[in-house]
């Protein structure tokens, strides 16, 4: 009996040693299961938040909708996994999700040591500070000695410490686990200041008990390029996600929108638009997708400007004149040509 059990145990352990990384590509796996699994926030207005029917919307969610439209021709073939800041990278590395589109900052440490690849940026942000109006603070430089509410698991913790160290000021961090707890802490007075990316500050401010009681300080202390992330080691999938993002930005630049796209597809003589929409060249085939990949993404989800106007603009963050404008309009968004 004893030896019998031992053999079973040994076989079980051998089984463990035999597990190795599978060679199936993400695209094949996604096609086989019939949907894309997309990691998003637990709820951040404008980026990814479920409505009362559980349908996600936001500029981050739109990236996943656009990829689903490009891969399947149907933007609804996507399922969302809400993740906290701490959980997100493990979820992606372990294969639980196919795309991480969760206002994630591109940094060297993350890119080089976590087994991830950052594609491009769908929102360029910067860290800012929000204070209670009653304190009468006008600049970040006046915040010496303040208690500062912050969410755990974000790059903001490091930027905050760097900024205060550079300016020889002291601060006490008050670190919460989720965005909602951080907001509650600030609202109820556990800290004097709340720091986060400026887009998030705008969203959080609208959710305060009295939004007028808080002001966002003018300084931006960091660069936060946010964009979708994929697993390292699958270049085909990396290319697909990256070029879907480039396609919607190029569409914005060429004034191709969900409204005029059918018209343009039938009538345009512009070779760039023809290549984008798959009526000329074999761009889709090179990515391993159908010829109308970009057409589907733009038709069903819209170009970048439509995404921005639908999701981020209602937070009071205007695109014109900001870094998120196209390179041709004074911003930094610049997509390589589709050819």
């Amino acid at each position: 009996m004893k030896t019998g059990k031992l053999i079973v145990a040994a076989v079980a352990l051998f089984g463990l040693s035999a597990t190795a990384a599978s060679a199936v590509t993400t695209l094949d796996a996604v096609k086989a299961k019939g949907h894309i699994q997309c990691g998003v926030t637990t709820g951040l207005a404008g980026f990814s938040a479920p409505d009362d029917k559980g349908v996600y919307s936001g500029i981050d969610a739109d990236v996943c909708y656009a990829v689903a439209a490009a891969v399947f021709g149907d933007k609804n073939k996507v399922k969302f996994t809400p993740l906290t800041a701490k959980e997100r990278f493990t979820a992606l590395a372990s294969g639980e999700i196919d795309i991480l589109s969760r206002n994630t900052t591109h940094t060297l440490t993350r890119d080089a040591s976590l087994g991830l690849n950052f594609t491009y940026y769908n929102y360029i942000d910067g860290q800012g500070f929000m204070v209670k109006k009653a304190l009468g603070v006008k600049s970040v430089k006046e915040l010496d000695g303040a208690k500062i509410c912050i969410q755990a698991g974000t790059t903001t913790e490091l930027n905050l410490a760097d900024y205060f160290r550079t300016n020889s000021m002291k601060f006490q961090p008050v670190v919460y686990d989720t965005s909602i707890q951080t907001r509650e802490g600030f609202d109820k007075g556990a800290c004097d200041v709340l720091t986060s990316d400026k887009s998030q500050l705008a969203a959080i401010r609208t959710e305060l008990k009295d939004p007028k009681s808080a002001v966002i300080l003018p300084e931006t202390i960091s660069k936060e390029p946010l964009g979708p992330v994929v697993r390292q080691g699958d270049d085909q999938w990396f290319n697909i996600v990256k070029w879907v993002l480039f396609a919607v930005i190029n569409a914005d630049e060429m004034d191709v929108s969900s409204k005029n796209i059918d018209d343009l597809k039938a009538k345009t003589t512009n070779p760039n638009i023809k290549r984008l929409l798959g009526t000329e060249g074999d761009m889709g085939k090179k990515l391993g997708l159908s010829a109308d990949w970009a057409y589907n993404a733009i038709k069903q989800v819209g170009n970048y400007d439509e995404m921005y106007t639908r999701n981020v603009a209602p937070l009071g963050l205007s695109r014109a004149g900001s870094v998120n404008a196209l390179w041709s309009k004074g911003g930094v968004l610049y997509a390589p040509p589709i050819r």
Partner: protein, 394 residues
């Protein structure tokens, strides 16, 4: 050598068979663990995830607000220091919680058995309320719904004379050594006083055993201690000066700060765990046979003597083992601290540090080891105590 010749074949000898079986088992387990380890590392490397302990000696690039015993200097302290600060903060809240929960739990448990209907119902109500609500919910309730909104902002702090209370925490004057000889004299006086208390207590006990008369040994000893300290202060001057908290631009600075997250966490862990300890205490006391109560009553002992000398020593044997589990639960429940911004090991190490370094596997494994060690240490300490209170049968 003088025994009968061993005729059993070696492979049928139970001793040898036992040794072989054990050796094979150990080999399989070791092989299993090394395989899992090698496999994990290989798979992580294949996915481009870097893994190693090098990050421990890197400088931690973020701030820490609460660390009473270990110095944290932004830009100098390493991740290893952060790890120790996390352990320190977990131990602080656990010890404070265990002490308070024991006192409160005993009080409530004894109240529950009170012959006074009103007192016993209060205790029942307390236990049924606190025991049946998840502790995370209680923590959030006390912190976000009670303490934060009800206590005033720093500029309207309550209190005075160096003692302040606001919604950021409790602020006390901090003793600072100003006069070294006065300070030495103070501690010397305390040491002598405590020794005197101990000796007087022994003498009083001996006197009671011989003559049956009680003598207030502890009380006299305490008086002596107080007199010695006063004398030392008169001769050498005040042993400490005090640095009192003052209002800065945003917060009170100087003095000792007990931050609100620590207070809220301590408060909720204490009230929650005390409900369980109270039930242990009640169970232990009820298990003491009625005859013991009656016999002690017949001897004319007062209720407090009856409880302290007869009932509780016997009840302890039943109370201690389940209470050890409650202490361990309290320590582990402290890991919920991150919800209310207390910087325990889970918040600092598996939260902030994990995110900054990305070393998920190592950081989580180290945290598991810390909790395992803390639990084992608590168990060992209390098992020693348990042996002392157990019935020694002759």
């Amino acid at each position: 050598m003088a025994g009968p010749k061993n005729t059993v074949a070696w492979h049928r000898n139970p001793l040898i068979r036992g040794i072989i079986a054990q050796a094979v088992l150990i080999a399989v387990v070791v092989w299993g663990i090394t395989t899992i380890y090698a496999n994990t590392v290989a798979n992580m490397e294949a996915r481009g995830i870097q893994i190693g302990f090098d990050f421990l000696s890197e400088v931690a690039p973020f701030g820490i607000a609460f660390s009473p015993f270990i110095d944290f200097n932004l830009g100098e302290s390493t991740y290893l220091t952060v790890f120790f600060i996390g352990i320190q903060n977990t131990i602080i809240v656990s010890i404070l919680g265990i002490i308070a929960a024991t006192i409160l739990g005993f009080a409530i448990g004894i109240m529950r058995l009170s012959p006074n209907w009103f007192i016993s119902k209060i205790a029942t109500f307390y236990i049924e309320t606190f025991r049946n609500i998840p502790v995370l919910l209680q923590m959030m309730f006390w912190n976000f719904a009670i303490f934060l909104p009800l206590l005033p902002l720093p500029r309207q702090s309550l209190g005075g004379g160096g003692f302040f209370l606001n919604n950021r925490g409790v602020y006390l004057p901090k003793p600072v050594i100003e006069n070294a000889s006065a300070n030495t004299a103070f501690w010397l006086a305390i040491a002598i006083g405590i020794a005197a208390m101990y000796i007087l207590h022994k003498i009083a006990l001996k006197r009671q055993e011989q003559t049956g008369k009680t003598m207030p040994g502890k009380l006299v000893g305490f008086g002596l201690l107080a007199a010695l300290v006063a004398l030392a202060a008169m001769i050498f001057g005040a042993p400490f000066g005090f640095s009192t908290p003052v209002l800065g631009t945003f917060n009170l600075t100087g003095g000792i700060e007990i931050p609100l997250p620590l207070f809220s966490l301590w408060f909720s862990l204490t009230t929650y765990t005390a409900a369980f300890i109270a039930e242990n205490v009640r169970g232990g006391i009820e298990a003491v046979t009625k005859g013991q109560w009656e016999a002690a009553g017949a001897l004319g002992l007062s209720r407090s003597n009856l409880l302290n000398l007869v009932v509780i020593p016997q009840a302890m044997r039943i109370i201690v083992p389940p209470t050890i589990s409650q202490y361990l639960n309290l320590t582990k429940n402290s890991s919920l601290a991150t919800a209310i911004a207390y910087e325990d090991i889970v918040a600092l190490w598996t939260g902030t540090s994990l995110n900054q370094t990305g070393q998920a596997l190592i950081i989580v494994a180290m945290t598991v080891v810390v909790y395992e060690l803390l639990s084992l240490l608590t168990s060992i300490a209390l098992n020693i105590y348990n042996k002392r209170v157990q019935l020694v049968e002759r």
